[in-house]
Every structure is written in structure tokens, then in C-alpha cells.
Symmetry: C2
Subunit: 406 residues, 2 copies
Amino acid sequence: AIDPRRLWESLMETARMGGTPKGGICRLALSAADREVRDWLRDACTALGCTMTVDEVGNMFAFRPGRRNDLAPIAFGSHLDTQPTGGKFDGVLGVLAGLEVLRTLDEAGYDTNAPLLLVNWTNEEGARFAPAMLGSGVHAGVFDRAYADARQDRHGVCFGDAIDAIGYRGTAPAGSVRFGAMFELHIEQGPVLEAEGRTVGVVTGVQGMRWYEVSMTGREAHSGSTPMGLRADALLAAARLVTEVHAIALAYGPEAVGTVGSLEVTPNSPNVIPGAVRLTVDLRHPDDAVLGAMEARLQAAVRSLSPDAGLEVLSAKIWDSPAVRFDADCIAAVRSGAAAAGLPARDIISGAGHDAAYIARIAPTSMIFVPSAGGLSHNEAESTTATECAAGAQVLLNAILAYDRA
Amino acid sequence: AIDPRRLWESLMETARMGGTPKGGICRLALSAADREVRDWLRDACTALGCTMTVDEVGNMFAFRPGRRNDLAPIAFGSHLDTQPTGGKFDGVLGVLAGLEVLRTLDEAGYDTNAPLLLVNWTNEEGARFAPAMLGSGVHAGVFDRAYADARQDRHGVCFGDAIDAIGYRGTAPAGSVRFGAMFELHIEQGPVLEAEGRTVGVVTGVQGMRWYEVSMTGREAHSGSTPMGLRADALLAAARLVTEVHAIALAYGPEAVGTVGSLEVTPNSPNVIPGAVRLTVDLRHPDDAVLGAMEARLQAAVRSLSPDAGLEVLSAKIWDSPAVRFDADCIAAVRSGAAAAGLPARDIISGAGHDAAYIARIAPTSMIFVPSAGGLSHNEAESTTATECAAGAQVLLNAILAYDRA
Ligand SMILES: NC(=O)NCCC(=O)O
Ligand SMILES: NC(=O)NCCC(=O)O
């Protein structure tokens, strides 16, 4: 049995790395705070005698030998990067619960049949470098290393330079660290488990998600002396698109969601009609066909804005992660793991993207969810109790051992 | 007669201070580029034997004695700060044409009756520190020094610290440098003169203008796992307000304008529902009563957004500059100055705010406009020809001499 208190202490200790006054974490991928928590994880794993491998996009793999090293390792983990207004659990829980699994086995002197592999995937959030799930995506062959290196943050800093700067460019070629299956524990980030009073979500899949970058180019002009009819106002066009994204989500039923999360105005001065706006659109639905229809309506909206006097509106799809169904054996291992722990569970589809969604393309994979208070995530007030965190870690251990036995 | 070529050379020489690749100027108030052009102006004025006085908010006054130093000086000038995407003429023309007036008189050995005073007003644009016309506003007693010092830019830097940093905190108390009248030459920044083929606008007044800062506070949450009905999306509320500001301007006739020029999103991440937005609203109309009606409708829109689930929308009026009518004698001096130069002129009301609008509260004041190609301003492509600039400077000289004689 895992040690709830040790797990919680690890969560609280690392939460200081990038910790915010409001009790959250701002630990953007490849920032100084990310380096700090990576160093901490490396030291914690090597202290257990694990071998740490870092690949060329910064994914970290802690290897614990098994009794039969001819078997492919069983992987588990998640990510240590956060949103700018991130909470203390999103991603972090999956990695530190994985560490708790290793510590528990170590203490018990338990050797699994297959080797184990604790993973910290680079830049899962996509907050600093779009798209999300970049490290796991490179590992799974969805993106190549050159594509990853070229991603830029808002200030024009490249992923490749940022990884060199924090010293986490490893030598292992991307995708070279092999494993036979992966389990990822994560907070739900939605309201379902809490509303139903269940502690564990047996995640059977992930909905489809697509990101678009839209740029509107108008004409800067004086706010006081330029008649309304002579304007090409990029922000007015952007505002119309924001309301249209909302309308699209409402039009495709309760499972559809649509969000404009980032928007930047140039030159951003009170008395200048905005000459340019860049924004991102995030559309999601569990059914890829419905998502396709939502995308078509978005594109129609983009086209309908362009003919406005002097305005040019361009959109590019920057991310397309199709709906995923997880592996039946891995799902069964999680379900039995929850039952063994005597925890109330239900099947659930993830609304958020996860590294597991890409890893499912190359290995049997599934996920475990624990509740998020108020369904809140990507928010400094994100909250999951110590008991729920411990329950998740216990189910993770149970699932790994069940899979290892089978 | 002024020297068109010397004037143009001054314009082009100083345009390099903060010059942009697209041929504009980014010379925000109290920036390093602002210091550079201020030093240049100080040296140019002292080379003519003028005495330079700087007041405690950085307004610069170059004094040229007259034959009768018991008379109050005649002031003229404008501002050297620009928008982030500023052109080469907005403000700069008024200061450098004033310098050209001094140089012309010097060369001709002409002594006016009253002393002359060339002025560079601090932070006219309001782009870095809202509100606009801050230096002239302090001089005219509209704002006090403490208010000016406390203004903050987007990065939280105070006006007071910024002025100390560039070394332009003078010793003269604000408002202590007195003068008997002021003339300001400026580009029109609108389409009227060009459309009618006239070179000179005899500016009879300035329309009313008000700025508001609106903040929307919602709740950060995950874009993928938060159902549409559980969101408090600050950007969606902001988008509705942007389209409403546009509708308000259209509803109050062809003279009304309304603009959201700056807008900032927090945390600004593609997969986070925006938790907070701050934006500015700029409403203008030549008739203060109509402007009051526009404001009432804006406030109603702000109120109607608040009841949205969990959203708080607050607005504050941060600037209120009522409509201004300039002094009849100063207007007559400009009109006669244009006639003496044989230039086609027309009366015009300014759509933009100017330092002259505040100075009109304490001294007889008027303005001269020259055309802006395509009505374009606050844009790096802002364009006024060398001939038009020279025409404006000549009318400025003529108007000063006419006023001095009368
Ligand atoms: N779990 C999580 O927040 N992942 C980020 C990718 C997404 O936007 O869903
Ligand atoms: N002339 C000018 O652009 N002034 C800035 C103040 C305003 O917004 O009108």
C-alpha cells in the first residue's frame, strides 16, 4: 500500500517550484521552475537506484529493473509543466504518484516481472509552446524533433533553444526508450466524479480536439478622427469570431466545447484602432465527425469576416488530436485496481488531452482519474484532497501490478 | 519665409530616434528614444541662444526674448512622443515647425514684440500612460503633479519613475511657466482636407472625448473539460462589449466614434477559459450632450454583462475631455496667416485630442491643421508631404507674427 502522507509531502514540496501567491503553480515548460522540479525528480529517482534517461526533447525516463528484463517495461507518469494559472495537481499528481509507486515497491522489496519506467513528458500543457502533448507526441511519432524544436513561445523563443537553456536536451533519440504499456493517473479536470460521489474514473478514451490560430489584419488608424465607415478594425472582427466560437459550441449539443483562450492585440493602445489581432480557437467533441462539422462552421465564419473593408482574416489548424479509445486490457487493469482498493468508480471519457492519448498510438494505454473540486482546473484554486490523491496512487500501483501479473 | 528643406531635414533626422523598419516612429513617452529626441531639441534651441526650462512633469519650454519682455510670451509647439505604431508627423511636426520658426526669425534677425516660447508637452499620446495630453493637462491645472506621477504603464512602471529615469524631471513647478497665447500646428489625422484639396485647416475647436477602463473577471477553467454552461468566460463578455461599442458609435450619427483600442487577456493560454480581461473604451462626439447619451448606453451594456454566471464587470471613466471652442482672435490669426500665404483653407473641428485643448482653458489658443494622406494617423504609413509641412510652418509663423502685431 502506498504512503498517503509521503505522496502529499512530495506534492507540497514541489508545489513551491513555481508556486504562486494564490496557491497555484506557474511552471511553464522549460522555464527555470521546470528545471528545478526536473532536477528534484531526477535526484528522487536516482536515490531509489533507478537509471535516468533523458531524450532529445527532454522527456525523462526513470528505469527500475524487473525480474525478467527481457520483458518490455511498464511505463507510468504524466507531466510536471503547468499552465500560467495552474493548480498543484494537473500532471504533477501522475508523476509524483508514479514516484510513490517506485518508493512503495522499494520499501516492500517487491520486484515486478517486467521492468518499470516512470516518465515525465515535456510540454504537455501547450501553454508556452503550442501544441499540447508535444513531448509524448514526438515519442509516439506524431511530430518529429525538428517540428518540436521550431515551436515558438509568445516572445519568439524556440522550444529547441529553451530546452538547451535549461540543460535538458538528452542524448537518447526521440522514441528510442521503449515500453510495453503505459498507465497515467491524472485529475479529472471536470465535474463528473465529484457530482456522482465517485473517487475513481476508469478512463476509456479521450475526446477529439483541434486548435486553430487565426490572425486578423486591419489598418491602424486614429480612434478620434477616423469615421466608423473608414475603419478596418481587427479587434472588432476578432470579437465577432469569439462570439461565433461560442455559438458553434452551443449548436452541437452538450458535449461540444469551443474556446478562445488567447488573444493578442497590436498595437494595443487606447486611441489606435487595432491593426492586428492573433487568437487561438480550441474546438472539442468526443465524435470526430461532429468535430469536423464544427470546424467547417468555424471556417465559414473566418471567410465571412474577410470581406469587411480592408480586413484580412487567415486561419491555420495548428493541432488535430483525433478521439482516442484506450486499450481493453489496460482499462481492465485499472477497473480491477479500483475494485481491489474498494473505491467507487465509473467509466469516463476525458475532455482534456493527455500524453496517454498519443502514447495509445504506440502501446497499450489507459488512464485513471480522481476528482477535481468544482470541476476546476487550469486554475490556481484547483483542488483534489490528499485522500483522493492517495486513492489514485493506490489504483495506479494496483493496475501496474495487475498488468504485470497478467 | 521658413526654409522647407531645413524643416524636412529636421523631421527626417529626428525620425530615426525610435524609427521603425516600416518607416514610422515608436517613441513612447519617457522612453530612451524620447530622451534622445528631447536632448536633440534642447541642443537645437540652446544653439539659437534660447533658454530651456523643464518643469516637474518634463514639459520643455525654449524661451526667446522679445523687444518688450513685459509682454506675456506667445507659445507654440506640440509633442515629440508617439504611438507604438506612430508616424513621422503626429506631434513632431508642431514642435519642429516651431523650431523652424525660431531659426527663421534668428536668420532674419527679426525680434518680435512679445517673447516667444517653443513647447514640447510630455506624454500627449496617452499610449504609454493614460490619459492623453497629460503634460499639458498638468500645466493647465486639469490634473495635479501627484496624479501624473502615479499613472502606470502596462508593465506597472509609474510616470514619475519613468521621468526620473530619463533625467527629465525639471525644477520649474508645473504651470509656473506663463504665456499669453498658444498656437499648435498638427497634422489633421483625418480625411477632410485631403478630400477637399485644401492645404490648411483653421481649427475652431476639438470634439469631446472620454475614456473608460473596463475589467471583466470570470473564472479560469479547462477549455476541454468544462461544459459551456459552467463557464464564466471573461473574453466572451469582452467580445460582446467590443461589438456593443461599435453599435453605440453607429447609433449616434456620422460624427460619433467608438473604439476598443487595447485589450489584454489573462492568463492568455489556448486551453484556459480566460479568467480576466482588461480593455479600454474611447467614445467621442463634438456635442457633449450626445457623448453623455453614448456613455449612458455603454454603462447599460456593462451592467447587462455582469449577471452572466459568475462574471463581474467593472468600469471606470479614466478620462473626460469636454468639447472645446478655440479663441476667436487666435482663430483669426491663423485664418489671416493662411490667406497671407495664399493657401486654400477651411474651418475644421478636431477629432483628435491635442495639448491645445487643455491650454485653451488657461490662455487664448488655436490650431493649424495640414493634410494626412488617406486620413491615416497612428499608423507607420502616416504621410504629409514636405510641401504641406512647409505650408503649415509658414502659417504658424504668419499667425504668430499677426498675433504679435495685434
Ligand atoms: N490535461 C491537460 O490539461 N492537458 C492539456 C491539453 C489540453 O488542452 O487538453
Ligand atoms: N493627436 C493625437 O493623436 N492625440 C492623442 C489624443 C487623442 O487620442 O486624440
